[in-house]
């Protein structure tokens, strides 16, 4: 149903590293789920519209004004930043995008 190569490709898109052993397992389990899912093809949906949500709400916009609710906690910013693994001068620090070891 789904090949190991496809699993590798999806894992790359999903940004998850997957070991060879995991790949094998995932192939089996995803194939069985996808096999099951294929029964949807027996249903005719030619003139059916999709339901993305059920509330009927559309464009729930608000007035473009500052919201008091965010002022409730003055230290919200520092609390959020404190969760980042690496910080420099109030910025979240990340590893280099370019691999310096690669020539």
């Amino acid at each position: 149903m789904i090949s190991e190569k496809e699993i590798e490709h999806i894992a790359k898109l999903a940004k998850i590293e997957i070991s060879a052993a995991e790949r094998e397992q995932l192939k089996d389990k995803l194939s069985s789920v996808l096999g099951y899912i294929d029964q949807l093809n027996t249903v005719d949906t030619t003139s059916v519209l999709a339901t993305y949500q059920t509330t009927g709400l559309e464009n729930s916009l608000r007035e473009d004004l500052p919201r008091e609710i965010y002022n409730a906690s003055e230290d919200l910013g520092s609390k959020l930043l404190s969760q980042a693994p690496s910080i420099k001068d109030n910025f979240v620090k990340v590893n280099s995008v370019i691999d310096r070891n690669k020539k």
């Binding site: 999903a14 998850i16 069985s32 059920t54 709400l57 969760q83 690496s86 990340v94």
Partner: protein
């Protein structure tokens, strides 16, 4: 069904009458958790007593599913990737419960990111069913259900995406309510499947559920999917007669796959509803058989998107060995997510990837329309739909954990309700004669008609006490 320990009303009365103080009852619960939870593992963390505000829940100790944020405390979502994550603010539901006076005992165990039906997918080990510790409590809100069933909390809060409140309520013999999608704010709930997730209460009786709905319902500017409409007082008409109420029994929910002992209890319960004066009528939900299939496209798709935020950069587990940005993503996600989370992320990535969108995601959303239409047609004839919550009573630990498909099928009667955005409740209706474990009766109402839902549930509950 006997309710174990305190209800909301007995605690508030006890405090009012001076039988105990808020702190004393809180400490009593904390001591019970210390004594009994090692075995059950309903809790992932416990909190200290905080002086309660005045309100209808003043001094009532509660437990919160660990995918809902409480300011300044750890919120793991049952995942290693958030093992040390500290919430920076209160979820809206927490702010509401707090201002009504509830005191939080702690955070309850769940399947990782609420993905599962047994709590066995928790990165911190499973919760056990308090009625039989060789069995699962259901899931994903298994910790919240077990905490209430074992009286390690007066009430608890869970979330329900495919049955994650109703199924564990059924397995543990407590009341579990999933409100209409859009009724209760999800601001501060760690998102799994945004178009389906809904927060709701676990309680020891229906009255407590109605009382909590009065507190937690309503539009929230911080959750644009909440519907701006006035919520009624859910307690006001709860004891009014249900005579003449039209109750539909979907033929599709009583076929193959339903255990005999569950079927028997549900049929007995339907008879009891008839004795209460309800008019029982057969209805048909022909597309409900595609619910699980549609769900396992919609949910993984939204999961692959929602869980993209866990990247090891702004919060959560971050791999220390990684030396490039991409490496940080790859390794943090590899090490942080468990097997089911990975499966669903990959399945969703696949379903949304180029060339497959129409065949999977779009197709599933069209099936969803058909499922919803079935309910619309049924509700043109009846006020409430009744059936089983789950095809079996609580299964054994390990029984289904190696086979995702058989685990998925335990949500077969609850998923359609989420896909259609309807309110549903599980109420105990006796024990199965073979397993001797609780069976949950599933009542489903029209969108935003929790009032009728709670009224019928309450009348049914009263009738079981006679």
């Amino acid at each position: 069904m006997p309710t174990k320990g305190h209800t909301i009303e007995s605690v508030t009365k006890g405090i009012r009458d001076g039988q105990f103080s808020a702190e004393e009852i809180f400490d009593e619960y904390l001591a019970k958790i210390k004594a009994h939870d090692k075995n059950l593992h309903a809790y992932l963390s416990t909190h200290k007593f905080q002086k309660p505000k005045d309100g209808v829940l003043s001094g009532v100790p509660s437990a919160i599913k660990d995918n809902i944020l409480i300011d300044g405390t750890i919120c793991t979502a049952g995942s290693k990737i958030l093992e040390k994550y500290i919430s920076a603010y209160d979820a809206t539901i927490i702010a509401k419960l707090r201002s009504a006076g509830s005191v939080f005992l702690g955070k309850t165990n769940l399947d990782e990111f609420a993905m599962g039906s047994s709590t066995e997918n928790s990165a911190f080990g499973p919760t056990k069913n308090p009625l039989d510790t060789t069995r699962v409590p259901g899931g994903s809100s298994g910790g919240s259900a077990a905490a209430v069933a074992a009286d390690l909390a007066v009430f608890s809060i869970g979330s329900d995406t495919a049955g994650s409140i109703r199924q564990p309520a059924s397995f543990c013999g407590v009341v579990g309510l999933k409100p209409t999608y859009g009724r209760v704010s999800r601001h501060g709930l760690i998102a799994m499947t945004s178009s389906l997730d809904q927060i709701g209460p676990f309680t020891k009786n229906v009255r407590d559920a109605a009382l909590l709905m009065n507190i937690i319902s309503g539009h929230d500017v911080l959750d644009s999917t909440t519907v701006p409409r006035i919520s009624p007082d859910f307690l006001e008409n709860i004891d009014k007669s249900v005579r003449g109420l039209k109750v539909g029994v979907p033929v599709e929910f009583f076929g193959q796959g339903l255990d005999g002992e569950v079927k028997n209890k549900i049929m007995e319960s339907i008879k009891r509803l008839e004795e209460l004066g309800c008019e029982i009528e057969e209805v048909s939900l022909p597309h409900s058989k595609y619910s699980i299939t549609a769900y396992y496209i919609v949910a993984p798709s939204e999961i692959s998107s929602n869980l993209a935020r866990f990247d090891g950069i702004r919060y959560g587990l971050s791999d220390k060995e990684a030396d490039t940005l991409l490496d940080t993503y790859l390794r943090s996600r590899e090490g942080g997510f468990g097997a089911e989370a990975k499966r669903r992320i990959l399945l969703g990535t696949f379903a949304l990837s180029s060339g497959y969108y129409d065949a999977y995601y779009l197709k599933a959303q069209k099936i969803r329309t058909l499922i919803k239409k079935d309910f619309d047609e049924a509700f043109a004839k009846v006020d409430i739909i009744v059936g089983p919550v789950a095809p079996s009573t609580a299964f054994k630990l390990g029984e289904k954990s190696s086979d995702p498909l058989s685990m998925y099928l335990s949500d077969i009667y609850t998923v359609p309700v989420n896909l259609a955005g309807l309110p549903g409740i599980s109420i105990p209706c006796g024990n199965g004669e073979i397993s001797n474990m609780p069976v949950g009766l599933h009542l489903v109402a029209k969108p935003f008609d929790e009032e009728t839902l709670l009224r019928l549930a309450y009348q049914f509950e009263q009738s079981t006490k006679q």
